[in-house]
Amino acid sequence: MAKTPEQVVAEAADRTGRSPDSVLRLLQEVNREFGYVPHEAIRAVSRITGKSAAHVRGVATFYSFLSSKPRGRHIVRLCSTVSCEMKGSSEVLKALEKELGICAGNTTPDGRVTLETTSCLGLCDKSPAMLVNDVPYSGLTPETACEIVRGLR
């Protein structure tokens, strides 16, 4: 049976500790497990760390790598900052949008992929770059990007 957000938080707290400093790490674990941070998890983290629910929500909504909404199984983050832009990232984006049939910021109807743009990934020397889940890809062309995304199951 799938774990509830409360169970995930409780188990994670055994590793991270229960101090207010653990809020972010607990939320990361929740995000890893569910792909987003459900309200029940915010409540659980609040209870365990003693920080208010609004504070925990503030942390959860501040970091772009934590999501407040359910998302796809795979997250594709294409860099849209200056260097990548100059090397054609907008063409790559158009191709990805066409390939997946969604605009950036959305998830494919089958829940397979969420496409997002992101700020600089630190790969300017190999622009354009994107991050697929935790793996960086660089030197992209519209074709190579689509190929990578096509391989995601």
Partner: protein, 902 residues
């Protein structure tokens, strides 16, 4: 601190070293606009509106976070500065819903003022259309509204909630242009926000506002400062009045609350406007209370009391004064009972809360009041809170305790059978079994003395009776204490060490200590603990009983007690008696009168036949209500003065309409002994009169005329007869009030007591042995029942239950029970249960919670429909005659389905 010279706008100014540019400008009288800055809050430096030019710096500097340096040259009003500020205001306005025409904040809005100053209007805006930003306000809180489209993200509210209130409920959520302030996860009501409203008071715009529409503009209201009508903290409030109605309340920025209030103080005063207020006197005719003239009502009381006095003697009459009315009124009430009626049968509800404090601390120190000032608690290094759910019963003091912990690193030790909210902030929480306080305090002293942490010099120089104390205390090893109290021995040792070795430890206690048959013993034990460690007679260090009601301290001080005249001067002392006989021109009784519970008992035995009650509601507040009800039905004659038709007034023969706290002049004395002013904010409704005027009329009708032109004149008489009040005059109280003892009109008052010597000379250590509570659980009544208060209601609810917002927070009575017990009894959260003791039975809602220990039940006593006091035990402390409201044995039964056919 040394001073340095800086140049501001071409002129030299000498200012204190270490301040910021903004503070320097402020002290030089040069205005600097700022939105995120607030003198009470830590610096945020996020609005950038306070920018100034500083010579030697290329960029503009934010004045609020820039410290001054010697010979600094600052320019605050150059074109560059003005242009930068103008741009900032323009940007703020660009995303601001400028509906000033209908905004509650118009007139006091700081953004509005700046927009006007810089000549900015909607048309000058260039960036973003309104549509993106205007959103529906969050109105889910019972008391406040948050409108994101007016929020400028200054974070004052967030800092206010965290730094001032110590709650940290609200926070900023989201990023970038989506940032907003949030109370909860989805909406405000989904949070622990308790509605204190500190955030509203500090919001510079209309983003956070009072939910109930005020309907009157800031510039149309009259603002009057007065004292709060609720608890003993004595918060100073600013009341907004318009056309004879109270429209809004703010905290006044003076001692003791410095702008803070609780939800009751800010939102709980609607009752004064209530249509249910008593407006004419009423007398009972043919079994019905019908309106009557003042003359008829007063005449009826006078003739009935005269008749009873003539046939049964003055001691067949008793009076209940009130901790809710002013010092002047309580003084006149007891004077009337003693001089006009001729009896000492005058008491009030202090009997039910701190009679044991008055008795115990008087025996130990010579004076029964809070030894320190409220403000000093913030700087105590260790605070031991026992039997006080401070954040609910004295919320602003609760806030100060939280600040002491959060901002100043104080160690907090909570000793309480319930997991009260302060446990969240506590270093240690000791959960004792109800009614075992003498045992754990003796245990702590045992540890302290055994481990040699006691203050030998203090004990030798300032106290007596140490050897006798040790004889008893030596028997209370932590292991034995663990058996009695269930507090683990190790935890007790740790607590003892922290308390004894901290530089300034303060004990805070309240009804959890006093409302026991061993109440006086408990208080003596607390005093012992403070004395053997020398933790008394110093700033931030002492024994601090928190008095429950707004004027319970004052009512005691001015003699509304059966055994003492004003200033705790004993009625049995011939010299004192002579002094008062001379002053009042009548022979007075030298026999101690009866206490509250004794009065009720005597009615049953026909010892008391006439009863006058001023502003009390024993039909809800007193223990063993079935008994009280019978007494009030049986008493020959009952007169009640009140602002509402309370449960008690409804049983009276004559009811007199009184002015509320907001409708009269006078003084209260708060829990820190501070005599504070009440002002006439509103006219009384209908024919209602201040109690002191009612007493003057009644006393005159009883053949003892009283002529006073004002409350101030009455205070002069009190001062002349009461040494601790000798220097108190109304004219001295306008700014901050004065703390007694104040022996003469030039004396500044006393911040903390017992500095070099105790009021009685040497502090007396009393050996106190442990005695179990009067009623313990058994097979028939297996649970321990305890009663108390909640944040949202006050005492018998006469006032708070007429306030919509407070009812929304807490609509009705409930019982708290532990999950394990609930499981055993098949009780569900939100279900109904019957709670029964040997004295009565009530039905109430079940709350399953770990706040109470297994085997315990807690019920708040505010709710007449589920009156906890139908259950409570009226067994008395032998010394102070305080009933054991905190411990009774009870049974709990599920109501509804399948309980053996019940």
């Amino acid at each position: 601190m040394p001073f340095i010279t800086i140049n501001i706008d071409g002129r030299e100014h000498t200012v204190q070293e270490g301040v910021t540019v903004l503070e320097a400008c402020k002290s030089a009288g040069i205005p600097i606009p700022a939105l995120c800055y607030h003198p009470k809050l830590r610096l945020a430096g996020n609005c950038r509106l306070c920018v100034v030019e500083v010579e030697g710096w290329k960029t503009l500097q934010p004045a609020c976070v820039t410290p001054i340096t010697p010979n600094m040259v600052v320019r605050t009003d150059t074109p560059r500065v003005r242009s930068a500020r103008r741009t900032i205001v323009d940007l703020l306005l660009a995303s601001h819903d400028c509906d000033c025409l209908v905004c509650e904040a118009a007139g006091r809005c700081e953004l509005q003022k700046l927009a006007y100053e810089y000549g900015l209007d909607r048309r000058s805006r260039s960036f973003i259309g309104d549509e993106d930003y205007v959103s529906m306000p969050d109105e889910s809180s019972p008391v406040l509204r948050y409108d994101r489209s007016k929020c400028i993200n200054c974070t004052r509210c967030i800092r206010a909630c965290g730094e001032i209130q110590g709650k940290g409920v609200i926070a900023a959520v989201n990023r970038s242009r989506d940032v907003s302030v949030s109370g909860g996860i989805v909406e405000w009501s989904d949070s622990k926000c308790d509605g204190c409203g500190e955030c509203i008071q500090l919001c510079p715009t209309g983003a956070l506002s009072v939910k109930a529409r005020i309907g009157v503009r800031d510039w149309d209201v009259r603002k009057v400062r007065t004292s709060c009508a609720y608890c003993g903290v004595g918060c100073q409030l600013e009341m907004w009045v318009h056309e004879g109605r109270l429209v809004k309340v703010d905290g006044a920025d003076v001692v003791p609350n410095y702008g803070s209030t609780c939800v009751k103080g800010r939102f709980g005063h609607d009752f004064v406007n209530s249509a249910e207020r008593l407006k004419t006197p009423m007398v009972r005719r043919n079994g019905m209370l019908v309106p009557a003239s003042w003359d008829e009502a007063i005449g009826r009381i006078a003739s009935e009391l005269e008749r009873i006095k003539n046939s049964h003697g003055p001691d067949s009459i008793a009076g209940l004064a009130s901790a809710r009315v002013s010092n002047e009124e309580n003084y006149l009430f007891q004077k009337m009972m003693r001089a006009a009626v001729g009896t000492n049968n005058v008491d009030h509800c202090a009997r039910l809360c701190h009679a044991s404090t008055v008795a115990g601390l008087a025996a130990a120190f010579g004076s029964g009041a809070m030894t320190n000032s409220i403000a000093e608690l913030e700087h105590a290094s260790c605070i031991l809170v026992t039997g006080s759910n401070t954040t609910e019963t004295h919320p602003v003091i609760g806030t100060i305790i939280r600040r002491a912990v959060r901002e100043h690193g104080a160690k907090l030790i909570v000793v309480d059978p319930r997991r009260i909210d302060l446990v969240d902030n506590a270093t240690l929480w000791l959960r004792q079994r109800n009614g075992t306080d003498v045992a754990w305090i003796n245990g702590m002293m045992n540890v302290i003395i055994t481990e040699n942490f006691h203050d030998k010099a203090f004990i030798a120089e300032r106290t007596e009776g140490f050897d006798e104390l040790w004889e008893v205390v030596r028997q209370f090893t932590p292991e034995r204490v663990e058996e009695i109290t269930t507090i683990p021995a190790g935890l007790l040792r740790e607590a003892a060490r922290i308390y004894a070795t901290s530089p300034a430890s303060s004990i805070i206690y309240s009804m959890g200590i006093t409302q026991h048959v061993t109440g006086t013993d408990n208080v003596l034990s607390v005093a012992n603990l403070a004395m053997i460690t020398g933790q008394i007679g110093k700033p931030s260090s002492g024994v601090n009983p928190l008095r429950g009601q707004n004027n319970v301290q004052g009512a005691c001080d001015v003699g509304a007690l059966p055994n003492v005249f004003p200033g705790y001067q004993k009625v049995t002392d011939p010299a004192v008696l002579e002094k008062f006989e001379k002053a009042w021109g009548r022979d007075l009784s030298s026999r101690n009168g009866l206490t509250v519970v004794e009065i009720m008992n005597e009615i049953e035995k026909n010892g008391i036949r006439g009863l006058v009650i001023m502003g009390e509601n024993p039909m809800v507040s007193d223990p063993n209500l079935a008994h009280v009800e019978k007494a009030l039905q049986n008493v020959e004659f009952l007169a009640v003065m009140d602002i509402f038709m309370s449960e008690t007034a409804a049983m009276a023969d004559v009811v007199l309409p009184a002015a509320s706290f907001a409708e009269k002049e006078g003084t209260f004395t708060n829990t820190e002994r501070r005599v504070i002013l009440l002002r006439e904010v509103l006219p009384p409704p209908g024919e209602a009169l201040p109690d002191w005027k009612i007493i003057c009329r009644l006393s005159g009708a009883l053949g003892y005329p009283m002529n006073y032109s004002s409350a101030a004149e009455i205070m002069e008489e009190i001062a002349a007869l009461t040494p601790i009040y000798a220097g108190i005059r109304h004219s001295r109280l306008f700014s901050e009030g004065v703390q007694w003892p104040c022996p003469d009109p030039t004396h500044p008052g006393t911040r903390f007591l017992h500095k070099d010597r105790f009021s009685r000379g040497l502090g007396k250590l009393h050996p106190v042995d442990f005695i179990p509570p009067d009623e313990l659980p058994d097979d028939q009544y297996p649970f321990i029942l305890s009663t108390g208060r909640i944040l949202y209601h006050y005492h018998t609810g006469t006032m708070t239950r007429r306030v919509g917002a407070l009812n929304e927070y807490a609509p009705g009575g409930f019982m708290e029970i532990h999950p394990a017990d609930a499981l055993r009894l098949d009780l569900e959260n939100g279900g109904r249960a019957r709670v029964t003791t040997r004295r009565g039975s009530i039905e109430t809602e079940v709350r399953v919670t770990g706040r109470v220990a297994e085997g315990s039940v807690f019920i708040p006593f505010h709710f007449v429909e589920a009156a906890a006091n139908r259950l409570t035990n009226d067994a008395l402390d032998p010394v102070a005659k305080i009933p054991e409201l905190k411990v009774a044995a009870c049974r709990v039964d599920r109501i509804g389905t399948a309980m053996g056919g019940s």
